[in-house]
Amino acid sequence: MATSCNADASGGLFRQASESVAQAGIVYKQLLGDKGNYLYHTTDAGLVRYDKTTSSRTTLVSNSVGNIIRSSYYDVTNDLLYYVTNDGLQSIKKYNAATSASAGTVGYVSANLTSAELLNLYKNGYLILHGTDVITSTNAFELLGPDFSTSIALFSGLDGYSLENVIQATGQESLPVGAASSTAYPLIVSFVDDNNSSPIYKHYLVTATGVKTEITLNKRIANFFVYSSSLAYILSTDGILYAANTTVDPITTTSMYDSSQATNVNGFVYPIDDGTNIHLITKSSTKSDLPLVFSFPRGTSSGVSTNSVRYGYAEFLDSSNIVDTIVKTVTLPGTTSVVANLLVATDVNGMYEISIKANASDNTTSNGTSSDSEAFTF
């Protein structure tokens, strides 16, 4: 007994206990956005509005058996909330946040699919549909824009494949895709063929201009970020970081580092650029794991080092499951001041406001700050 066992522990016994945080009593699902004094989000209770003047919450739409909100979209411009539930109906429900009243349902139109089935709605208002390509009569999927009719990308010839996921980069989930917008951000649409001894994955990068390009990577993707018009970085769910050359078709990937740390699909993967290096902050699928930071020279595909971070911005993230993120501010790289200010929602430990500095990989209190649970501002 001179040295103990702990063979399968994600952390020391007394360390985990010392870092335990009381549950906040709120089970966050999605952070949708804010307008004025209100922050809209979904919890296990339903669609919720938080009023910062009174620090109180109002449930606008309650979850009920057979009518649980699966995903939502907040149209900030028109102050409208859209959501889909598990009621089995192929409709998108609308809520008018300005009048605090339900506004019926809206439909969707696909000119490219027959028997189009709504699979999901995303935070940027995009829909993913499943059906049969009207021209090729093959199994197909289609990405529609937030007007629920404009086709952004059609994925056909996918017989045997089902939708694996639509992956949106951390903090960019509310941004448009395929629109003539300076804030547009790509997404990855992943499909899987489970009909073999091992699954076969197909991924497509859908760029800000709506162009879709297949990615050569037969792995399940956790998340990604786009560094430039020619380079993206992808993290697989088994913890391998890849550099992706986006100038070729199909996109090729190069393995950079194997962390062996599992990460959930759409897990927290957020880049900090200090002007010389990229520090990619990730959170594994294990709640008690410390955030792991991959650091490598900007624009390269090698030279990766990693560090686990417990202090500063990561103070409470090591004992939490992150479910969603909103980026409040991002400043230019190359400074030592705060680079990014985020709202990070967890499943049971509340929401934190974290500020991350350029030295994001330093395991010290100088790398940034974190508010206490629910002590966020917007």
């Binding site: 702990n6 994600s10 335990s20």
Partner: protein, 196 residues
């Protein structure tokens, strides 16, 4: 300084006044059942050189818990007894996850005061199985305790005791070495004892 010396002198006088002829003989036996609470006192992390003090979130992270045990001792002299104890301890953490420890240890007690009232001074050393979340280990365990037991009759007694437990966590996996620590708890327990 004078006050400390005076206190020690008073304590000595008290012990002498309470201690009559030895009550126990070599071979006397004692069974005890204990139940009570335990207070997480500290956790010291070697790599951080940091000590967290007290129960609750932001400190040791563990709340005040409970403890129960059985023990058996046999007197190897009129004043001292040896034996063992096995117990079960639990504490909930700030996020409501259960910490459990099952200590099992050899116990050596000195009875400077004995008879109708016993004041045992004990030291214990052994091991403990501890578990929290996905961490589980077998580790060392040590304690010191002081008790007070009242025997209204010859055999059955009722007591109160407290002390200090120490449980180290010494991981040999590289990834966990930075979490090596030593934790301390203060038990406060009631006991029922049977002696013969």
């Amino acid at each position: 300084m004078k006050k400390i010396l005076l206190f020690c002198a008073l304590l000595l006088l008290l012990f002498n006044s309470l201690a009559a002829a030895d009550y126990y003989d070599k071979g006397s036996q004692m069974f005890s059942f204990r139940v009570g609470t335990d207070v997480p006192l500290f956790t010291y992390f070697f790599s951080d050189n940091k000590t967290l003090v007290g129960p609750g979130e932001g400190k040791t992270g563990l709340d005040i818990g409970g403890y129960g045990s059985i023990s058996y001792q046999v007197f190897n002299s009129p004043k001292t007894a040896v034996g063992g104890e096995i117990g079960y301890n639990f504490n909930f953490s700030a996020e409501n996850v259960l910490f459990t420890a099952i200590p099992f240890y050899a116990k050596y007690s000195l009875f400077p005061v004995q008879g109708q009232f016993d004041i045992p001074l004990s030291v214990g050393i052994g091991g403990a199985y501890a578990k929290y979340n996905d961490a589980a280990l077998m580790t060392f365990y040590a304690n010191v305790e002081i008790g007070f037991t009242w025997f209204p009759g010859d055999n059955w007694g009722f007591g109160l005791s407290s002390g200090l437990w120490v449980i180290p966590e010494l991981n040999y996996y590289d990834a966990l070495k930075t979490d090596n620590a030593i934790a301390g708890f203060i038990p406060v327990t009631l006991s029922i004892s049977y002696r013969q």
